[in-house]
Every structure is written in C-alpha cells, then in structure tokens.
Amino acid sequence: MNDSEIFSRLRCGRRIGRMLLHVPVAMGAGLVLPALSFAGEKAAAAPDPGDTAWMMVSTALVLLMLPGLALFYGGMVRKKNVLSSMMHSFVAMAVIGLQWVVIGYTLSFGPDVGHFVGGLGSAFLKGIGPATLHGTIPLYIFVMFQGMFAIITPALISGAVAERMKFSTYVVFILIWSTVVYDPIAHWVWGTGGWLLNLGALDFAGGTVVHVSSGISALAAVVILGRRKGFLKTAFFPHNLTLTLLGAGLLWFGWFGFNAGSALASNGSAALAFTNTQIAAAAASLSWMFTEWRVQKQPSALGAASGIVAGLVAITPAAGFVTPPWAIVIGLAAGVICYFAVMLKSRAGYDDSLDAFGVHGVGGTFGAIATGLFATVGGTGLIGGNGRQLLVQLTAVGATALYAFVLTLVILWVLDKTMGIRVSDEEELRGLDETQHGEHGYHD
C-alpha cells in the first residue's frame, strides 16, 4: 500500500469514526449534526461528546497520578519500606474508591446542609443514571473525576507518616479523614451552597481542597506520630531515586488531567489550565534546582523532581485564572519557597518524612494566595485592583488549614488511644514491608 492509499484510508476511517460518534447522540436526543438541524430548533439536553471524552481521559489521567505518587514516595524511602510506602497510595485507590461512591460524593456535592457539607441524598449515587448530566457531561463522569481527587488527597499525607505508621491504622485513618475532613472542605469550596464558594474563593483545581488540606494534615500527623528512630542522627537516604524521577514524571503527566480537567469541559479554559500546568512545573523545577545548586553546590535529581511537584502544586488553584506569564512567576517562586520549606524541617526538628507539608502544605498555601494576587481570567486578583480576593483567599486557606489541622490531631489522637498508630521499635527497625505486609520489595 503506498502513502496516498494509507492517507485515503485514514481519512475514510476518521469520517466513519465521526459519523459513529454522532449516532448515539442523534438516537438519544433526536438530533443529527448541528449543521444539519433546522434553524431555531432547540436541542434536547445531551452530553457534549468532546467534553465527555476529555473528562473521561482526565479522570483516568488523575488516577494515574496514584501510581505516580507511589513511585515518587516509594523511591524516597529506605529499601525495607518501599512496599509499605507504595501501598499507602494503592490502598487509597481501593478504600477511597469505594468510600467516594458510598458517602464521599454526597457529602461533598450533595444538596447543601448549612453551607458546610452535602446531604445524604446521593449516597450510593442514588438518583444518578446514564442520562443524568452535570453541565455538558454525564454526571457519572463528574462523580468519577472528583473521586480521583478524593483518592489522591489522603495519599499525599502518607508522605509525612512513611516508615513508621501501622498499616491497619493508616487504612482506618484515611477512611475517617476523607469523610470528616476532605468531603466537607470539598463542599465548602466546590459544592453548590458551600460557604467558601459563596464567599467567592477561587480554587481552580484544588489548591486548598487537596494541597492545603493534605499538607497541613501531614504536619498534624507528624505532631502525633513523632519522629522516626534515628531522625537527624542517621541519614535516611532515598533507596531508589530512579523510581522517584519516574513518579515525578507520571505526576506531571497526570496533572494535565487534574488541572485542565477541572475546566469540566474541552474548551479554552482547559487549554489555559493545561498551558499553565506545563509552565509552572518547568519553572519550579528549574528554580528549585538552581537554588540547590547555589546553596548546596550541586543540583540533585531529587531536587529537580521535588521542584516539578512544587510547581504543579502551586499552579493548581490558579491554573485557569492566571495568564501564562504569571504562571512563570508562580512556578519560579514555588520552587524557591518549597525548597526552603523543606530545608526548614531539619532545623525545626519535625520529621515530615517525604516533605508532604513542605511541598503540598506550603506550595498549596502559596498557590492559593498567588491566585488572589494574579488572577485576571474568570476572576480578578490584587493586580487587577481587587484586594478583597486576596482576603477571601487568605480566609479559605486559613479556614481549611485550621479545620484540617485540628480534625487530624483529634482523629489520630483517638486512633492512637484505640488502635495505636505507630509500629513497635523492633518493627520499625526491621522495616514495614516485612512486618506489615510479610513481603520484601526486592530479593537479592
């Protein structure tokens, strides 16, 4: 077959594909292509195929961030804890994957109760069917997309508790935390009637809901859990930074779904968020690397990878609200700020094992504030003369941080008194893979 034959077949295939794409729409809604519909005819509500396709892809992209996070964190722990650390992310897919459809979705997006939480009307996704829409997409896809955010948020906390938390308690913790911390906060910011949404808080893809909540909770977890044995006396060097780099790459890839998917449509807003995501990740990776180069005389691979994540975290709330030049500023600043936040832990003496607070807590806070400073698209920040937006952003960050911190302290304190949250000294020494899972990541 020569080139022109191949080309002609491809074009033919695409034409057939496009025709097929419209068959269900035409059958379901009594339409043919918009171009062929009669002038003035009003279309019945039907999902937009482009939006629906993009949101399905975005949802799958965000799920891929979990294996990405597992690799990112897993490479940073010691060899004896690699499975336990990766399991923190994988078990979140299972536990919160179910929790979300049973009660999480309805608490976050169900009918408003007191501007604080969603009601129980949509428990077990009651009342939702294939024809139910959320804007231009099937509601099922909106539920699944938001569910991925609910899954990744507690998994982010796991970075702070790595190498010493009991697995059984971790499972119970993420189930409770997601229900009483994440779901209400998601309702505040994104749920119809939520008090922060009513206040006008801007959070495009989860700067406060995902990163501030998880990062601040990580700090609370460290307060209750304490340091790993030998912290600051022995170096807990990452056992496999190749995994960490691969994980950072997968997080970056998945983050396009996280941020550009948050437009909930395949449109210009999604394109802007997509563009800003790319810019901020690149800028922050560079600024972290150069800061480290200057301070520690060498650019580390771990620093470059951490910078990528810091940039992605910081641009998350701003992704669809700022123009690309401001994404550069946010990215460059995030790399430097998060670098120093991570360096702080050895001075302050708290053991946030893999820097969940330093990157997500600090980066998310900075990003939320930066949104209040630089927003010019679909919202106006301080540079547009709207000082109130900055106050609203600070309120959102403060309320989220306070709520997440206090609730996490309470949850873990209760779990400590009942189940115990920390493995024994002996188990910690032998490693959590062996003592919690009866396995080893590697067999020599």
Partner: protein, 112 residues
C-alpha cells in the same frame, strides 16, 4: 605462598584486573565491601541536613601467588589503583599455609 588483599576504589576494578591479567595472574576473588580508613567517611547533604557516611563502598581483591610474585602484584595495583586522593585504599600481604584445588585435590603451587 602469599595472599595479597587489596582494598581499592570501586571505579578502579577494571583497570586493576586488566593490569593483573597482563602480569600473568590467572585468578582472583573480588568482593564488594564497605568500610573506612583514616578519612573516616565523608559528609553528604540530604534535604538540608549534613550526615556523615561512615562506611564507604570499596572493592576487595584477593590474589594468592607464590612469594616471588608478590611485589609484581603490589606494583601493578599501586600503578592502576592510585588516584593520589584520599581513599585510594590499602594492600595487605598475608601468609597462606596451604592451597588445595577441590576438583583434583592438588596442593601447593599446582593448586593456584
């Protein structure tokens, strides 16, 4: 019979092995080891904290040779393993009482 035991930098193994082969050494044993000498480890920075790494990875080469070939082995290792920087390693010469080839039961020089 003597055993020449050399602790060298990992990156120098290939050159030392080639040198020993050129010098007619037919067999040697190599082990990955960790330890420290006068340099007492080194410091590495991780996430803003400085840590002393006590045990540094090295390679141990063991060669058993007749007494008259010991100085040739030492000269080869000195030439091939020396960078001039701290941590180049050590050479120990140890008397060997007996050598036995398991397959044939030969003893002494024939067994090497």
């Amino acid at each position: 019979m003597k055993k020449v035991e050399c602790i060298i930098q990992p990156g120098r193994l290939d050159e030392v092995r080639e040198g020993l082969t050129d010098a007619g050494i037919t067999g040697l044993t190599v082990t990955e080891v960790k330890g420290y000498g006068r340099q007492k480890g080194h410091t590495e920075v991780y996430r803003g904290s400085e840590y002393t790494i006590d045990f540094i990875p090295k390679i141990k080469i063991e060669v058993v040779v007749p007494k008259d070939r010991v100085s040739g082995v030492i000269d080869t290792v000195l030439e091939k393993a020396r960078s001039g920087r701290i941590g180049d390693g050590k050479i120990f010469v140890i008397p060997v009482e007996e050598t036995v080839r398991i397959r044939t039961g030969e003893r002494g020089h024939e067994a090497v």
